[in-house]
């Protein structure tokens, strides 16, 4: 009987200790599953409210210290629930199912997926009101709109270079005007060669690229300059003959592919690239 009591005491002690977390939990914080929203929240000065993020949330660098709750498409649901967050921000696409599941568990979930500049402004406004940063949000939107107007003005009346953005090589994939990155290219004064595709990001034909003769190529498909120059039938494309090819090291893809306040910086860099192209005409 004595042994049994001792064993029960030890087991109870182990049970109590195992129930304690290894680190103190910050209840009522924000969990952000989308890198875009993480950037917006931080731009509104609310980085300290973020309790956890996903592995893709890499900007601003301060987010590296935050707890990780999985990656974009493989979210650790239990880790989120354990944090008891006041608000969870999800993206669209693969994350919509997770958003619905977390919603069923009583968590407040917001899905944010801006697909245009107007969508980005309204997303910033909505996030601002949800995290009590309305003033900062209005100020940020105002500054962004002013900067974008300046970019638009500076491209007015100038020749528009035809731009080809490659996001995948095998199979070949590009973007439509309706995609967020397509909007940025057009706003910065470029002319996306695939104005209409059946999806925002879609498979395209090599022949269509050759026929379109793009002046600038943005290559996010991991191919090299030598690889692109060696492609059969691509030799006469102006972007290749003039070496107007940009890679990830030249133009950070996060500035174009993420809908964030940094998109303005992406457009400014595009404008500079287009100006350089125009100067040579």
């Amino acid at each position: 009987m004595k042994k049994f009591v001792h064993a029960m005491l030890i087991l109870s002690a182990i049970f109590c200790f195992s129930c304690q977390g290894t680190s103190p939990r910050k209840e009522g914080g924000i969990v952000v599953l989308s890198p875009e929203v993480a950037e917006i929240v931080c731009a509104l000065g609310a980085e300290n409210q973020i309790a956890a993020v996903t592995e893709e949330c890499n900007y601003p660098p301060g987010l590296a210290a935050k707890q990780k709750v999985g990656n974009f498409s493989a979210i650790n649901r239990e880790a989120i629930i354990a944090l008891k967050p006041a608000l969870v921000f999800c993206s669209s696409l693969e994350q919509e199912m997770i958003a619905a599941e977390l919603g069923k568990l009583g968590l407040k979930v917001e899905v944010v997926y801006p697909g245009s500049l107007e969508g980005l402004f309204s997303a910033i406004g909505r996030i601002g009101s949800l995290i009590d940063r309305q003033t900062e949000a209005s100020k940020l939107i105002g500054t962004m709109k002013k900067d974008i107007e300046l970019i638009r003005q500076s491209s007015k009346g100038k020749p528009r270079p035809k731009v080809y953005l490659e996001i995948y090589r095998n199979p070949l994939m590009s973007v439509a005007d309706s995609s967020f990155v397509g909007v940025l290219i057009e706003t910065a004064g470029g002319d996306n060669i695939f104005s209409s595709l059946e999806r925002d990001y879609a498979r395209v034909n090599s022949e269509a690229v050759i026929k379109a003769r793009p002046d600038v190529m943005i290559c996010y498909s991991q191919d090299s300059l030598e690889g692109i120059l060696a492609r059969k039938g691509w030799q006469n494309i102006p972007a290749l003959t003039n070496r107007d090819i940009l890679f990830e090291k030249d133009l950070n893809p996060d500035l174009l592919q993420r809908a964030t306040p940094r998109s303005v910086l992406g457009m400014k860099q595009l404008r500079l690239i287009f100006d350089r192209w125009q100067a040579r005409q």
């Binding site: 974009f72 498409s73 493989a74 693969e94 995948y168 090589r169 095998n170 199979p171 070949l172 994939m173 595709l197 059946e198 999806r199 879609a202 498979r203 395209v204 034909n205 090599s206 022949e207 050759i210 026929k211 498909s221 991991q222 191919d223 690889g227 060696a230 492609r231 059969k232 039938g233 691509w234 006469n236």
Partner: protein
Amino acid sequence: MKRQALFLLWLLLSVAIVMLYLGLGTPDGNILLQVRLPRLVLTLFAGMVLAGIGSIYQLMLANPLAEPYILGISSGSALGSILAGLSGFILLMPLGGFLGAGLTMLLVWHLAHQNGRFDKSRLLIAGVIAGMFFAACISLLMYLHQQDTALILGTLMGNLGRIFGQGEWYFFLFLVGLSLAILAYLFYCSHAIEIMGTGDLYASSLGIDVVQLRRRIFILSSIVIGICVSYAGIIGFTGLIVPHLVRFIFPSGQKKIYLVSLWSGGVFLLACDLLAKHLLTLELPVGVITAFIGCPVFVLLLRKS
């Protein structure tokens, strides 16, 4: 007479499909020579390999459902190809595919032996199991690398729109030459394969080294399938449907069946690729088209026979 008329009709249709494939949309000389012609060569090659090997496997394995992918080589090749692509070596995907096919071939060949003796049924089972295992590996990769779904789906559903680099093109032509030599050798073996299809005992009594022949066919066919999947991805149904359709017109004579299968396989895939490119403004994976055509045709054949 009826067969000759059919033959002539198919010949005319083949020429028309090739002309349409090359000339649709009046492309300029650069596009015709540098883009369409390489794609035509890849498509014809893939169709020929799939249908030709399909006709041999159906006889050799005495199984009407046998197709080039049944022995797991394609899944192994696709896995190798995808692994190379996901590691950032997009240009080395064919090499990865070829390595995958080679390793799968060794594995299946090893599993097909029991106490040093080759067994036809074990070959089939080992092939199916290896194929399922590699397919599971591909599913895992697809789950872990959702951002690369396009690359994985391109390999799993066929991708004939490959952009060749200049050096890559010459290497591909060399591999096509090698594959054609293998296909020619398999043609030379047609008679022996046909006899083998009637039973090992009968074939042995006629002096055919059945084990040796089967091994040779397995290794050689694995090489050409490996090359085909490495460049074109997995394209289902061509290797199953085309030999059956050909047998519907020529019920016997493996030599004739094999040759017509090679030709018809190439033309069938060209027609499917034409549809894949032009049915919608968005280019569809060719494997979807072959399946959509293949399934009803197979049901029709099943009802007729």
